[in-house]
Point group: none
Chain length 208, copies 4
DNA sequence: GATGAATGAGAGTTCATTCAT
DNA sequence: GATGAATGAACTCTCATTCAT
């Protein structure tokens, strides 16, 4: 691992700085706790509950996330990162078609969580404005890679725009809230079947 | 005791009852106020705000709606009633095709409000459990009537399930939240055009 | 006592209103408690402490005094009222000279309390802007009456401006903070002696 | 263990001691920062603000000043020292009369700051009990020297007690808070003029 | 020794809910 | 019955103080 990679996120800039061990641990704990609490009680859950679950004092939480929106945004980004990162992992461990299907299911679960944040995201808070772009910037390339691999392998048809699929699956997930996950799964399966349909016929380079 | 016909709704019947006039007035005022406040500030809005807008004391509000969920459910039902009732009115005043289009737009506005209640509806509160059934019981017949009339007039194709359409339009409305009403309108127009397509050809009994 | 006197402060405007019995009692209790707590712990004392001493919930306190400055101003006015009102009482019960001396001592104690509010009064809060005028409007006539009576009785010289004396005594009280009340008393006695000096020479017009 | 002479003033003397340079620097920085912050935000200003302005960690501040009162007292003493020290400097650089006037103005500014500390000084904290004596011990000789020099030069009358003048000017400054510095200046000028009055005539030994 | 991350008591403030009038 | 004053639990947020690094 060369120095050039990774760069200096926001530390290591000064040589004397370290201490980060426990600080980093705490930040992780807070984000994980916040994710869980947000999912269980909504983004308006008491700060204390998050702090308690993370095993830190409220002061620690406030130090890192002065506003609730900062915390919400951080949780959102963290989940986007985690979900997007799985695309590569799945691609490495499964056939292109399987990887695509598995990741879309994974993405479905991400959306389920995001639903909880929806109200907050539309609150007009400055902090949230960059989130949609973050969403697209991370998910579009990840899904595009999966789609292209599957298309190249002849497992699905080509010519499907990643963003369209992201939105479609997203809407599906949101809309089926009342029936729960099963409905979403059924619709998702249908969609994937749709992608598969005609895959052979379009084996040849597709021009759209 | 001749005044036994005092109606039966869900109270009265006994002779001693009167006061109904202002009591009913208060209840109406509270529901109307709650609808507005819920739309503006969400279902977690302060009770006081609702009471103030309704021009009653908080005590009065609590007397009729001991729990917030009672009030939320009552508002929901009231809006379902109002929206469903308009179907007949529109059918009487317009051509079948127009009536259908106008009512679907009206229904779209209902959904917009309902969106605000969504979070609460999924809170697990007992009071909310009967709401989906109430929704379907009222809307399905109303829309079915409109559809059948329009089909009979040859303005749209037949064979469309009212519930499917209710859900489809509902999902459309919810999913397009980010782009706003315009998006919903465009999609709704498209849908209605779809219904119109092939109307003539299917004039004869459709076999599916 | 005729109806015309006293007028309707801020109630009785509508016939149906009363309830005020306990509300008034609470307001008095809060003001009295605030006076004591401000004196003991300064105007930044915890709201809870004041509420507890008054025997009311914090909500009650907030209901009447949404901002701390509202409470501070109310306490100030209440003390001005009380102190000014004593002038007439003392005049009725004592000789003009005695009444003057006793009231100035009373005023000295008022200033001692006001000292605690001084910092707050200069905070720039809008609510405090009318206070100096309130101070002068109430105290100047009260002291003027005492001075004129004493001068008319030949007990002190005439020609002393009430406002000058108010400020002089005020400064005296403030400035002697370190030595405490005794110093203030000595200086006040001196001042009163000064008023008496030459009274005889001006005796002429005196009719007792 | 030959370093038994651990002691003397209150540190140093022993060979092992060093670090003094930066330790002293830190203490100075803290006191200077505290002076500014106290003046700007009062003596209840957050510790962090002082530490930040001083460029040290809060831990360092607490090491040297375990209690806030220690810091307040240290600032007070430091300002007394600084103000008193200027007397000699001014005497060396100006005529006796000028030096006196300049120093009294300087003292006026000291009082202005002290006003901010007044509330704290009366808090009953043990640490503050020695402060009045410290005040007098340092200022009285300094002003006495200035007065005597000016009297000897025939620029002012003799027989004025330094302490009386210190109190008089102090009270003037405090009492004129509402009108601001201009009032204080005018009164101070008047006072100095008063000292000058009759200076020549009293050149000879004054009998009081 | 210096640093600043962590802690948590405590203060302000809101608002659901009760209950005297 | 209606009203709204009173209550106090619950929340957010700040900051003095401690202590691991």
């Amino acid at each position: 691992m060369t120095e050039s990679s990774k760069a200096a996120g926001d530390e290591a800039v000064e040589p004397g700085r370290r201490i980060r061990a426990d600080a980093r641990r705490n930040e992780d704990a807070v984000l994980e706790a916040a994710k869980q609490v947000f999912a269980a009680s909504g983004v308006d859950a008491p700060v204390r509950e998050i702090a308690a679950r993370a095993g830190v004092g409220v002061g620690t939480l406030y130090r890192r996330f002065p506003n609730r929106s900062d915390l919400v945004a951080a949780v959102f980004r963290r989940e986007v990162d985690a979900c997007a990162a799985e695309a590569a992992a799945l691609a490495a461990a499964h056939s292109p078609g399987e990887a695509l299907g598995l990741w879309l299911r994974r993405y479905t679960r991400f959306i389920a969580t995001k639903k909880g944040l929806a109200a907050a995201l539309h609150s007009g808070d400055q902090v949230f404005e960059t989130l949609p772009a973050y969403f697209r910037t991370n998910f579009e390339p990840a899904l595009t890679a999966l789609l292209e691999a599957a298309a190249a392998a002849g497992e699905i048809r080509g010519g499907v725009a990643a963003y369209d699929l992201l939105r479609a699956v997203g809407n599906l997930s949101v809309a089926s809230g009342e029936e729960g996950d099963q409905h979403t799964q059924r619709m998702l399966d249908l969609l994937i079947d749709g992608l598969r349909y005609g895959a052979a016929a379009r084996q040849e380079p597709t021009v759209r």
